[in-house]
């Protein structure tokens, strides 16, 4: 049997949607038995949500005030302790998982595979390299634990419907005090989460200003979509960093992606290549975004956006 430990990401008492995708990834490992680890302040709601995910065998709940807000240096020794006896330790390829999992791997003296796209067997998997210009098939060592981050855009979330037991765990681990949380700014509001939204409208540099960037909100509202941005738009200060879609931002796989005024630099395309349908609106007919768009519309976005909104 392959025992798999999935580390749960959560905030404000809610399980992050990426966890259901990590469980989906874990289920593709042959003969897997899946445990979800919830490290939280109290974590009851989060553990219950994790226990309901289909395919989860049990949930370990480590309640400790030090566990929120999450700090990798504090969580890593606890996760390493929980990981004993597990063949795989998985976390999402979000900034939470990217920060935490290598620290866990080092404590376990285990190799890490980042951004797993698929398990071909219990010892073979696929992952992107070179900004996803190459897909590597990687063979894992036999008889050694492996840590991995899961490229969430590659997996469909498992549904809720399970009912795994939640086991409270007390860990005898010394936690460092040398890392301290100060603050976080998050301005998401009521919009769907960019990482997991079914529809995303993104704006690029062609919007021209932070004020104009807001023009895509109307379309996003009509579509019930999350808002994203190209790196150029973020660098220019039109949109905050957390909206950046692309190799160095978020890699997403929505049903519908609408790129407004985005030329389509390679690093941006890397972030959207798993989108089901891509729509591009750009005044430059030569823009690379049209090479990957299912539907391209050439023209002035400032006149096209209100037209499209009216038709929806």
């Amino acid at each position: 049997m392959n025992r798999v430990l999935v580390v749960a990401e959560h905030a404000d008492g809610r399980l992050n949607a990426a966890v259901a995708k990590c469980v989906a990834c874990a289920r593709t490992i042959p003969d897997s038995e899946i445990t979800v680890a919830v490290l939280a302040k109290d974590g009851g709601e989060v553990a219950a949500a994790a226990a309901a995910l289909e395919g989860v065998a049990r949930v370990l709940l480590v309640a400790n005030p030090s566990n929120e807000p999450a700090l990798a240096a504090v969580l890593a020794p606890q996760v390493a302790k929980l990981a004993e006896g597990h063949a795989f330790v998985l976390g999402p390829s979000t900034t939470f998982g990217k920060d935490l999992m290598p620290r866990v791997a080092a404590l376990l003296d285990a190799p890490q595979v980042s951004d797993v796209m698929a398990f071909e067997s219990a010892t073979r998997l696929r992952r992107p390299m070179y900004a996803a210009n190459a897909i590597a098939t990687v063979e894992l060592p036999a008889g050694r634990s492996v840590v991995a981050t899961v490229r969430v855009a590659s997996f469909q979330a498992v549904p809720a419907g399970g009912k795994a037991p939640v086991e409270p765990v007390t860990l005898d681990v010394k936690l460092p005090a040398s890392t301290r949380f100060v603050s976080v700014t998050a301005a998401r509001g009521d919009r769907p989460d960019l990482q997991t939204a079914a529809r995303v409208v993104s704006g690029g540099r062609a919007l021209g200003s932070a004020e104009n960037f807001k023009l895509i909100q109307g379309l996003a509202d009509k579509l019930g979509a999350a808002i994203g941005a190209s790196r150029a738009a973020v660098d220019a200060g039109y949109a905050p960093n957390e909206l950046q879609v692309g190799q160095t931002g978020k890699i997403i796989a929505p049903e519908l992606y609408v790129a407004v005024g985005i030329s389509g630099a390679i690093q941006h395309l890397t972030g959207i290549k798993d989108a089901r349908t891509i729509v591009a609106i750009n005044k430059d007919p030569e823009a690379p975004i049209f090479e990957v768009a299912d539907y391209g519309l050439v023209g002035d976005l400032f006149s096209l956006l209100p037209e499209i909104e009216k038709l929806l």
Binding site: P69, A72, T95, K98, M101, P102, R103, V104, A105, A106, D109, P111, Q112, S114, R124, P128, M129, Y130, A131, N133, A134, I135, A136, T137, V138, E139, L140, P141, R144, S178, T179, R180, F181, V182, S183, V184, A186, R188, Q195, V234, D235, P240, N241, E242, Q247, T248, K273, T277, I278, V279, F290, E291, D294, Y295, G296, L297, V298, E307, I308, L312
Partner: protein
């Protein structure tokens, strides 16, 4: 001496369109321009700025790689690093081995801060800084977009999925640079001349007692599947009609 150690990896230049070899054994490197990993250049720039602000006395640039990586270290010296060390190693050293190698140098050089890029743009692992911090048993501040040092504490703003997170870490610590930390300066010709006089030591990986053996095996590389080019619609009405027909809106 208040020292900052900066890691510099030699990678295929970020402007090069990377191509997979037809036999799947790797990517094409013949005649391809090599450069410092862009995130490492950002880390180096930040280290130099911290020294210029009086928060450090020396910037030490370290690369672990082939003899040719001396070129990237010379560039680092020209940018403003004070000295450099090349640890000669074959390509393909995995992040845990890189972290163990850096730990050996950290033990020798006792930096107050280690600044690395958040990831290298070749293997895209995003592991080395976090692993070094764990092995060193020190704090980590990854994906930094702002670093302020106040006494023995660094206050670091991090680019996280939720937005911008600020944490405080006791020094010494490991910090990894994200895109918007700074814009690296251009190297000027006189600086290239001056850099030739700066010390660049070369040591063998074996002399540090680090086991370079990989634990993972890359069996093959493949080019990713290409998306099919779609259609150009003539106006907003045709676009909305097409999306409605596919049940997307």
């Amino acid at each position: 001496m208040r020292r900052i150690l900066v890691g510099i990896k030699r990678v295929i230049d970020f402007n090069v369109r990377v191509r997979v070899r037809p036999d799947g054994s790797g990517v094409v490197t013949e005649g391809v321009k090599m450069s410092a990993n862009p995130f490492d250049s950002i880390a180096l720039e930040e280290a130099i700025r911290l020294r210029e602000r009086g928060e450090a006395d020396e910037v030490l640039a370290v690369s672990i790689g082939p003899t040719e990586a001396q070129q990237q270290l010379r560039d680092a010296l020209a940018m403003g690093a004070d000295r450099a060390i090349l640890v000669k190693a074959d390509a393909g050293l995995e992040p845990p081995a890189v972290a163990r190698t850096l730990l050996k140098l950290v033990e020798r050089e006792s930096p107050r801060l280690v600044l690395l890029g958040k990831q290298a743009i070749d293997d895209d692992s995003n592991q080395t800084g976090q692993m070094l911090a764990a092995l060193w048993d020190r704090p980590q501040a990854t994906f930094a977009s702002k670093i302020e040092i106040q006494g023995e504490v660094a206050r670091v703003t991090r680019e996280v999925d939720a937005g911008l997170e600020t944490i405080e870490v006791d020094l010494p610590a490991v910090c990894t640079a994200d895109l918007r930390l700074n814009e690296p300066r251009y190297i000027k010709l006189p600086d290239i001349m001056k850099a030739k006089k700066k010390p660049l030591d070369v040591v063998e990986l074996a002399s540090l007692g680090v086991d370079p053996a990989p634990r993972l095996k890359v069996v093959k590389l493949e080019a990713p599947p290409q998306r099919q080019k779609g259609v150009i619609v003539k106006d907003a009405a045709e676009l909305v009609a097409a999306l409605k027909q596919k049940g997307l809106v």
